[in-house]
Symmetry: C2
Subunit: 380 residues, 2 copies
């Protein structure tokens, strides 16, 4: 199969990238030196919603085709998806470090240089590089590194999206410091599905491994908890709010996989929420973490630029009604979020200003089952 036709069959990724021109110092490991992904990548990816459906005879509107991607691109342009601090639409492509892609199409093993050059010639701006069909862990590691160097040699700016640690975990603990030197983002855990079970499992994996993965994230390199499935079929409204809020806290790439031609106004507004996106894209670039879990309520927080903090409270109880949860302000932001006071705004499930809070005060919130309350605490 020729590379050209492989592109059409394997599908593209439309990436809305925000290449920050402001340089920030950060204490993490050295990042891939391509100047890209200074904040998490944003865009649209076909996989979770459209998979590898090639039957354009029977299902012309949902098969993987140029038409599908062009329709999504046009909607990103016309429906406001591109308006959020974007530098315009970019093109992504999918390939694999091994002999075949996970779906069995030809992989890049042994052809990293020619594939990288071909992608650059085609004007590709992002490569999502999967890890199926690799003979050994050594091949996997070497392959991911070689493709990174090959992409750099093309001279074109191409965001490099890896699945290296995901495929490493069954064999040994990934060296994230090293991975960060080669990749702009990297998948750690299983593929996301259109279900609350899946979103929950990703959050659970992330919090149980946060000591290992949070500090390594920063401008130029990010942990990738996989796609946003907001606007599809399997998540309730509160569960969609939770995914959006927590992907912002986790400084995750915001790659939607949904059908922009058929999306509810509510899901669209959630995905286009400028305040939540601003948290995700905060230029300080520090990933958030789970602060505590008690009585089935999780509290997550993320440090932001200008001494601000984002705080998310998730109600994981799947019975009953909305629950009240009181947090002491002093327990947030390593005790530093509100000294001597701060201005608190609730961003999700709906935006409202909660006003000024002192360091010694408590904040009472009401959280729906499987839902999240997302707050922004601004220094005064």
């Amino acid at each position: 199969m020729k590379l050209k036709s492989r592109v059409l069959q394997q599908g593209f990724l439309l990436a809305l990238r925000f290449v920050s021109l402001v340089l920030w110092s950060f204490p993490g490991a050295r990042a891939l030196d391509n100047g890209l992904a200074m904040t998490p990548t944003m865009g649209w990816l076909h996989w979770e919603r459209f998979m590898c459906n090639l039957d354009c005879q029977e299902e012309p509107d949902s098969c993987i085709s140029e038409k599908l991607f062009m329709q999504m691109a046009e909607l990103m342009e016309s429906e406001g998806w591109k308006d959020v601090h974007s530098k315009g639409l970019k093109l992504g492509i999918y390939a694999d470090v091994g002999n075949k892609t996970c779906a069995g199409f030809p992989g890049s093993f042994g052809h990293y240089d020619i594939d990288a050059k071909t992608f650059a010639d085609w004007g590709v701006d992002l490569l999502k590089f999967d890890g199926c069909y690799c003979d050994s862990v050594e091949h996997l590691e070497k392959g991911y590194k070689r493709m990174s160097l090959a992409l750099n040699r093309t001279g074109r700016s191409i965001v490099y999206s890896c699945e290296w640690p995901l495929y490493m975990w069954p064999f040994r603990k990934p060296n994230y410091t090293e991975i960060r030197q080669y990749c702009n983002h990297w998948r750690n855990f299983e593929d996301v599905y259109d279900s609350w079970q899946s979103v929950k499992s990703i959050l659970a994996w992330t919090s149980s491994n946060q000591k290992r993965i949070v500090d390594v994230a920063g401008p130029g390199g990010w942990n990738d908890p996989d796609m946003l499935v907001i606007g599809n079929f399997g998540l309730s409204w509160d569960q969609q709010v939770t995914q959006m809020a927590l992907w912002a806290i986790m400084a995750a790439p915001l790659l939607m996989s949904n059908d922009l031609r058929h999306i509810s106004p509510q899901a669209k507004a959630l995905l286009q929420d400028k305040d939540v996106i601003a948290i995700n894209q905060d230029p300080l670039g520090k990933q958030g973490y789970r602060l505590r879990k008690e009585d089935n309520i999780e509290v997550w927080e993320r440090p932001l630029s200008d001494l601000a903090w984002a705080v998310a409270m998730v109600n994981l109880q799947e019975i009953g009604g909305p629950r009240f949860h009181t947090i002491s302000i002093a327990s947030l932001g390593q005790g530093l979020a509100c000294i001597p006071d701060c201005m608190i705004t609730q961003l999700l499930p709906e935006k409202k200003k909660l006003g000024f809070y002192q360091w010694t005060s408590d904040l009472k919130t009401k959280i729906n089952p499987t839902g999240t309350v997302l707050l922004r605490l601004a220094a005064t």
Copy 2:
């Protein structure tokens, strides 16, 4: 604690009962001879949504109180909930066959007669009788039988809702023929939660035990897969459609547990859907069953009066978009649903007439992930 105060603390059940005046012959086992529940009970129950919240100081609007139940009763009256072939609002109460209720309040053990008489004096129309804190399986069985007889002796018509088989299963296989002689409906499996995982597990339990439980259901006695959680927080729209459709197929009591003061118009319309309720309440009273499962799509069917059939197709794949599924008409209704043809109406996810289909033809449907297409096939 006196019985009177126990009532207020344990909560009520507001039951909309349809006592059919038409008598139908059915081949199942002999039913409890109280003339009640000739079709499945319908109503509202506080448990899943409001649980045992007794803190009326802090949460006056959601604690278990007379106010909560009166508000729900008034909304059932004013918001159309009572309009569906009801004989008016009835009152339900909760008690337990053992020494204590599951929440630790006094149980009825040793006091079945006085409790039954007290409930009758209070004008109670339904008793939900739980099975916690019973010393032995023998006590459990005897207790459920004795309370049934005690209720009958009161001379008042009281629907008897049991959890007998649920508490039997860990010890031995329940004798459903016997249970049906004492109870109007009976819980078999775990409590429902506000989650797709829970709804799925109930459907899976029901289909894997259908040989044992389907035939025993009929006018006067029903399998109870627990409450409808439609209108709450944990189910997506498609998952709510699935619960409504499958509870209709299963001839299940339709006991909502939600907040009628705060319910979306969409969830309300689904719960009040007259066509779907008509399937649930079909006077033939035969429970449906899973016909087959292939490629993550389940096909369920239920025989209805007038030689009609209800057919539900559930898409259990939690990834991708809507899937097309083609069924041969001849495979439905034991080959008898469409001889020589029939009129097919889709009831869910939205109503549309699909027209006439011949016995030899195929029907192509499109089913959302975790959603259901519910059809009614009418003889011509």
